[in-house]
Structures are given as structure tokens and as C-alpha cells.
């Protein structure tokens, strides 16, 4: 059975004003990601990867074209509508972890559930999720009391706790050493596979990218399928 597309970008463009001139970051970009699919976006720094991620996730507004996320057109939604959509369907993992400093690990993980309105089970499910990422003993610690790897594992727990349809990950291992990076990557792909989440991963790390179903390369604001050094074996190993 043909899987339905959960992320569709059509003729997507983003232009920003820089003083007197205009800078085009993305132009005429088309993309379709199917449900349960994992897609890696690679490319050099400044190629527009993060901008694309922001537009796909509804964090930013495009200058032209449209994005359909989980069947809803982001272009037709205002900021409030996009926020509500994110709360229902989207999870995030960032390079710099971005845990809320004032909340404990457990509270950070509870946050998406509470935002969704699942208050009763929030604590239980957040605890389970922290256990899943191996941090059952660190639930009451605050972000600045955790190591980088631990912080990113909390962020993973936070991303998956609300069972999002789609997960956006922006250089999830970029700030971590090799051992911690591998552990986080394993967790990310493992949890993604278990939950059947659609994953969009932005990264520099080709090895990480190759664990996805598809690798797309971003270059000067345009996207092309595939990646030259792709190794079929590695891709097949991807969850």
C-alpha cells in the first residue's frame, strides 16, 4: 500500500532582507516525505539546511510556496495555529539541546504532554521515557547538572514522549563526543523505529545521515536526491 505523504513542500522559497539587498536562502524547493520515512538533509554550512527545517516544522514562514504538514497547510495557519499543530504532531531535537533551564529533567519531558492537554499521565509517561533513555536516576536534576549527552537524552525523551507523528532533529549529535553521539544516535533511531515516527534529520555527519531511508543534499538553496558517497549497506542498516 502506498504510504501517504506527511510532509509536502511545493516550490518553497525563502528570501531575507540584508540591509539594502535581498538574500535568497531557498528557491523553488519541492519535497515529499512519506509517513514513517526517515530523511536526512545534508549540506555545507550556510547551504540552507536549518532554514528548510524551520520552514518544514512551521517555526518560520516561507516567502513563497507552501508546506503541508500532517495534512494541514502551514501557509494557511497563523502562528497560533502552527503552534497548536506542533503541539499535536511534532517533536524536536536540537544541537544545543535547548532544555528549559528552570525545569527539571522530568518536568522538561512532561512539558509536551502538558501542552497537549495530557496532564494526568504526563508524570508517569515522562518517567517511563526517561527510563527508556537511561536517566531514571536523574529525573529531578536540572539541565545544568547534566552532561551534554545526558541533556540530549532528556531532549530525546521530550521529543518522543508525546508520540509525535513527525520528528525534526537538527544536528542532534553535533555537540557531543563520539561515544555520547553514538549512544544518542542509537537511541534516536531506535525510538524512531519503535514509534514509527517520520524523521527529518539535518546533519553534517554523513554516517548519521546514511542511517536514514533517504539522503537529500542541500546546495545553494536547492535540494537534490541522493548523496555521492552513499553506501547501500549502510543505508539498508538504517532503521
Amino acid at each position: 500500500m502506498q504510504k501517504e505523504a506527511v510532509i509536502v513542500a511545493k516550490n518553497l522559497g525563502k528570501t531575507v532582507e540584508t540591509g539594502e539587498s535581498q538574500l535568497t536562502i531557498l528557491r523553488g524547493l519541492d519535497l515529499e516525505v512519506k509517513s514513517g520515512e526517515s530523511v536526512a538533509i545534508v549540506g555545507a554550512s550556510g547551504s540552507g539546511k536549518s532554514t528548510l527545517l524551520g520552514l518544514l516544522a512551521g517555526l518560520d514562514e516561507s516567502s513563497e510556496g507552501k508546506v503541508i504538514l500532517g495534512g494541514e497547510s502551514l501557509t494557511d495557519l497563523d502562528e497560533e495555529g502552527r503552534a497548536a499543530l506542533r503541539a499535536r504532531k511534532v517533536g524536536f531535537v536540537f544541537q544545543s539541546f535547548l532544555l528549559v533551564a528552570g525545569l527539571s529533567a522530568l518536568e522538561n519531558v512532561m512539558l509536551p504532554l502538558e501542552l497537549k492537554g495530557d496532564r494526568r499521565e504526563a508524570r508517569l509517561r515522562a518517567s517511563e521515557m526517561l527510563e527508556r533513555v537511561g536517566l531514571a536516576h536523574r529525573t529531578q536534576h536540572y539541565p545544568n547538572q547534566l552532561s551534554g549527552g545526558e541533556q540530549q537524552r532528556v531532549a530525546l525523551a521530550r521529543a518522543f514522549v508525546s508520540s509525535p507523528e513527525i520528528l525534526f532533529a537538527d544536528e542532534p549529535t553535533g555537540n557531543l563526543d563520539h561515544a555520547n553521539g553514538s549512544r544518542v544516535a542509537d537511541l534516536l533511531f531506535g525510538m524512531n523505529r519503535d514509534a514509527g515516527t517520520t524523521l527529518v534529520l539535518v546533519t553534517h555527519d554523513l554516517k548519521l545521515a546514511q542511517r536514514c531511508d533517504r539522503v537529500l543534499t542541500m546546495d545553494s538553496g536547492t535540494l537534490s536526491e541522493g548523496e555521492t558517497s552513499a553506501d547501500p549497506q549502510e543505508i539498508s542498516a538504517c532503521g
Binding site: 497560533e80 503552534a83 506542533r86 535547548l98 528549559v100 501542552l115
Partner: protein, 838 residues
Amino acid sequence: MWLRTSNRLLKQELGRGELQIMVLAIALAVLAVYSLSGFSSRIQETLVSRSSGFLAADRVLRSAHAIDPRFYEAAFVAAQASDPSLRQAELLEFQTMAYAGEAFVLASVKAIRGPYPLRGELKIADGDALSSQQGSPEAGTVWLDERAMSALGIGLGHELEIGHSRFRVSAEIVAEPDASFNVFRAGPRIMMNRADIPATGVVQPGSRLTYKLLFAAEGAGVEELGRELSPLLSENQEWYGVQDGESPLARSLDRANKFLLLASLLGVILAATAIAVAARRYTERHFDPVAVFKTLGMRRREISLLYAYQLLVITTAGILLGLVGGYVLQEGAITLIGDRLGSEVPPASGEAAWLALVTGAICALLFSLTPMLRLARISAMRVIRRDLDLAGQMQWLSVLLTGVSLFILIWLFSQDWQLSASLFFAVALCGGIMLFLSRGLLWLARRWGAGQGALGMGLAGLYRRAHSNAIQILSFAIGIMLLITIVVLRHEMIDEWQQQLPEGTPNHFLVNIAPYEVPTITDWMAERNIQRTELFPMVRGRLVSINDQRMTDRASKDETSASDRGRDPIDRELNLTWSSEQPGHNPLSQGLWWPAGDKDFQGVSVESGIAQRIGVQLGDRLGFLIGGERFEVPVTSIRQVDWASMRPNFYMIFSPAVLADYPASYMGSFYLSPAEKAYLPELLAAYPTVTVLEVDVLIGQIQGVIDQVSLALQYIMVLVIAAALLVLFAQTRASFEERRKEMVILRTLGGSGRFIRQTVQLEFLILGVLSGFLAGAMAELSLYLIQTQVLDMQWQAHPWLWLLAALAGGLTVGLAGRVACRPLLSRSALSQIRQLEG
């Protein structure tokens, strides 16, 4: 949802000590306002109530005609219903001849009904016993002051006649609270019972009488009565208190009032600055969490609610803390100086607490509203593009809101549109100029310091953040400027007061010296080393016309409103004098003094106040009547006279050619220290016809009030300094936070502690010097405006101020920077980085 998250965040932030700064800033605003306005209003109340002793009442209704009880009784009863402490006494004052055997004297009589005095102390001696009296002599008896007794040659138990009645002297008046300031006008004093007046027959149609109703209350009764009565006053009635009029005391009180108001206002602006600084810092720290909340799908409304709730909790905590602190501070200060105030200080009023509460709420809400609004607008994209913030956005709203809040605060304090508007525009103008200048200075410093090691690095850092640094300089400068303004103002006000009545101010007047006695009296004084003024000849005469227009019609209103308050009415006899030299303490405001050596010069020099009142200008011809002889003389100069100087002062000084041939007696004033008081009986025995007026008690009272006002100013200055230091500290912390990241990077890259410390310190030092320099310049401008426009004082340049301010700014801000950067250097780079990330 938002409530739960908000509470969690609050708990954690409180635990980490981050919110305390915000709470402290609000508490500081409330504390400053509560203690400043509470303390100043209590001090002021005490001072006014003490000074009211000089009126023997809080307010007086004076009339040239009998006051019909129907005129005020309804209003009095109504006011008394709301303030039962409201009370009244009635005085009838006039001059009449009193006789005792062959002796007679023109006495100033005060006929009393009711509990006179309502304020101050009337001391009488009844034989050996000295007692404080409230009420009138019993019917048929009178009290005399020493002058009246010696003029009549009688003592206690003797009798005297006034009109058709005989009275027995039952006590001697030792101290009278509302003795006239004008020592030349007051005759020997006799006090009697008002009920005895009709029998004497001295009050006839056409008699020159002053009716006074005295009022006092502990609550608002007097003000309420005043509101009712003021619109009903007729032309010859006047409603006044100790702060009205031109007595030196009124002037001191008026200035002290304005100063206290100003100091409180500046305190509020300082506190508002602290809150704005703290709110900005608080908000900026929350950019990331808000972006994360938004990414996770929190709505803008929820984010707004979340932070609004936090703000509410913080504000409430700050206000409570501030109120408690302010109360403790107030009570502490009152306990410390209460004794020196010498009278009972009223309890803390609820009004000041309300004012402080409202101020705290306004400060907290309005000054943090824009930062909060900015928070809600943070883009979710910040989670990916970390450099996104809102610098530059909503600036106009921020400026607008700050302006509106500031204006509301100023108005709330002064309740005076004009003062609010001028102060507001002055502050706004200063702010604009300072912002502009500080950016310019930063640019210059950057150009100058390029490539100079740690200094160059510091300057580069400063210039890179030129915008936020300009704002920091502005808030440092505002703190320093307000501080300087208050310190200098207080110093110069007290100085000026002390100059008014310096040590050795004449405290005794000699009148009625015969011309032949002048040389021997001056010798007598010289032998005893007594400092004295020149002896002036005095001729009694009457001003009868101005440029041929007769005075009689134009004078009646002036006369009633000005009598007994240091201004003689003008259709009655005046003390005239002549002098070839211009009195040193009488500067000319118009015209010229007569040429020395021109013995035939005809001219008169007129005191500026009376000249203005009767509309006399240079060149007008004034007609005088002396002992039946009439003459005219041109006005050749207008003089300024300081009536509080306790020297012989005259409305009219003539060229010698005009008056020298008239019979005159001489007068002058001199200073006796308490130890020299013993010379007095000797003097009186040697010159029995000379009268000595002792004003040392009066001067003592005025000096007492001035001392107390100075004390109040000192306390308020200390509070303002404390407020300013706290603002500086809050600002240093906030600006240090902005630098922390770079410092951590430098540290991580292996920058030595010394290098980092130097860089930070130089940055702060430069910030401080620039702020101080600007503050000095702006303080000079505000001093000029305040002294000339508000306080009616002389302004002089303070060139040292600029240097001192720059120095002080550099020192304080530099030191604060050093303290703030210490924890950074004592912890490992790793934990610092963690903290930045967290």
C-alpha cells in the same frame, strides 16, 4: 498548563537566586518611596506643626472687622464632625494706651478667648513659678511682658488702666509663641480676657483692629475647613498658615518641602531605572525558554499568562518586602533623630504606604510590560538560529511606555501638572542628549584605543555593544547624576540657610537712642568688644502720595493683608532713615546710589518689595509728611532687603539732604553671646531711655527649625545615595551578564585571570568614567534648572563637579565590575560553559 509551568519555573528561579534581583529592584522602589515619602511627610508634618507655634495655630482666619460667627460656624461644625480634634481660639489685637499712675505706654494688646495658643508654648511667670499656659487671663486681670512692666514701672499684683477699666497684673509673659517677626512694629505686650473688652470702651467704630480666629487639628479638619471657607472670604479677610507669606521660616519650609518632593521624585526615577534594568535582564534570560515553549506548541496567550503570573508573584513579593523594609527604615530613622526633632513625630501614615504600593505596581508592571511583550513575540526559529533576538524591535513601544510610566509616576508624586511636565521633559531631554553623547564617546574611545592590549580589547568590546552600552551608560549616568544633584543641592541649601543667620547674627535691637547718646553707646560697646551694626537715624513719617496721587484710597486692601507679617501698611507711619553710604547688605536692583560728596542731592531709595506692591518705579515722585511738614522727593534707586538678616532695615532710605534736619532717634542691632547677656542690665542702667529688644529667642527658634530641616535633608540624601548605589549595582550585574559569555570564551581559550580581570575592569572603568562625565554635565544643567526655577536660589557653576563625577563614576562602576567578575574567575571554565548552556 501555564500556571503549573510558571510555578515550576518560579520555584527553580527563586532557588537559583535569579529572580531575587527583580524582586529586590521592586522592593527597592517601594522601599525608597515608602521611606522617603513617609519619612519626609512625617518630618514635614512635625516641622509644620512645630513651626505652627509661630502662628500659635495651624491656620489663621484674619479680618479687619469682627468675624460673624455665622460665617464660619456651619463649616466648623461640619469639619469637626469628621475630625473631632479640630479646635479654635479667638484673638482681638489692637494698640492702645495703658496707664499706671503717671506712666503710660502705647501697648500692643492681645485679647484672648479660648485655648490660646493652639500650637507652640505661652510661658508666663506667676511670682516664682514658670508655667505653660493655654487660655486667657481671668477676667479683670492682665499679663504683661517685661517691656510693658518696665515702661509702666509696675510689677505683679499692681494695677493698670486700659480705657475705662482697671486691671490687676497677675503674671509676666515670658515667651509668646506668635510674637511678631517685625520687632519694630510690636509695642510692649499686654494680654487680657476678651470678655473684658466691651467694658474698656477702647473698641470704637474706626478703631484699628485685627480679629483672628485660630484653628488647629491633628487630622485633616483644618484643611477641610479651609476648603469650605476659602471661597467665602471677603476682601478684608485672609486665611493663612505658617507656610504662606514671606517670613524667613516660611521660605525655609517651602524650600525644604520642594526639596523633599524633588528628592522623593528622583528616588522614584532611580527605582524605576532599577526595575527597568532588572526586567530587561530577566526577559533576555528567557528568550530561549520562550522559543522552546513555542516550538513545543505553547500558544502566545499561554506564554503571556505564564510570564504575567510570574510578574504578579514577583511584584507582590517585592512590594511586601519593600513595605516591610521601608517601615523598618522609617521607624529606625525616626527613632534615631526623633529626639533631635524635639517634638512628637506623628505615626506612619497609610497614605505613604499606598503611594509606595501603587508606585511599586506601576514600576513593576509598566516597566516590565515591554520586555514581557517582547518575550511573547520571540520567534520559534530562535531554537535553530540562536542569534535571533528582538533588539531593535518594539523600541518605539518601549520608549513610549517608559515615557508614559515615568510621567504617571512623577504626577502621582507631585500632583502638579506643571512640575510633572517640566521635570518629565527635563529628564527626557537629558536622556536623549546622554544617549547621543554616550554613543559618540564610545566611538571616540574605540578610535583612540585601537590596538592597545587589554585596553584595546575592552574598548573594542564596548564599541561592539555600542547600543546596549549606551543604554548602560545612560542608566549609570542617571544614577550618578541624581546622586550628585541631591548632594550638591542639599549642601548649598543648608549653606544658604546658614548664611542667612550666620553665627554672630545680631540678636538684640537698640531703639530710641538720642543723638547725643550715639557716641557714648558706641564707645561703651567698643570697650566690651560687642559686634554691632551701624546706628541709623530714624524719623517717623508718612507716605502720602505718589506722583501727586494720594495714597489713602489705594492702600486699604494691602494694609489688611500685610499687617503684622513683616510689611508695614503704607498709609501709616513708617520708620524713615537717611544715609550717605549704601548699606552693605542692601544691593541695588535698579538705579544708582547718590553720589558721595553731593551734599544737596535729593532722592530716596525704596525697598523692592514695597516698590512693587505700591507700583513705584525709578523717577516717581513720592510725597511724605513728617510732623505736619510735607515734601516730595524722586525715587533714585530700588534696593533689595533681606528682612531675615536681623539688621536694621528700612523701606525708605533718603539722601542726607532730605532728612538730616528733622529730629531723629537712632537705632541699631548688636550681637550678645549667652555669656555676654550679663551686659544688658548694665546697659539699661546706663541709658534708661534706650529700649532693648531681645530677639535671641526668636533667632534660636528659627535656627532650630533650620537645623531640623537640614537634618531631614541629610537623612533623605542618605536614602537617595543608597538607592543610587543599588541601581548601580543592579546595572553592573546586568551588564556583567552580557559580558559573561565572552569572558568564558576568553577563559576557555586560556586567557589569564589577570588579562580577563583587566579587560573587564577596564571596560567597567571606562563605562564609569564616561557615565560620570555625562552625569556631571547633566547634574550641572539640572542644578541650574532646579535652583533657578524651582527653589529660587542663586546658581553658581561647579567646574569641579565634572571631574569629581567622572572620577566617582570610574571608581564605583569599576569596583562594582571587579566584584561582579570575581565568581567567574574562581570557577572552572567547564562549569561556566555549562551554566551558559543551561
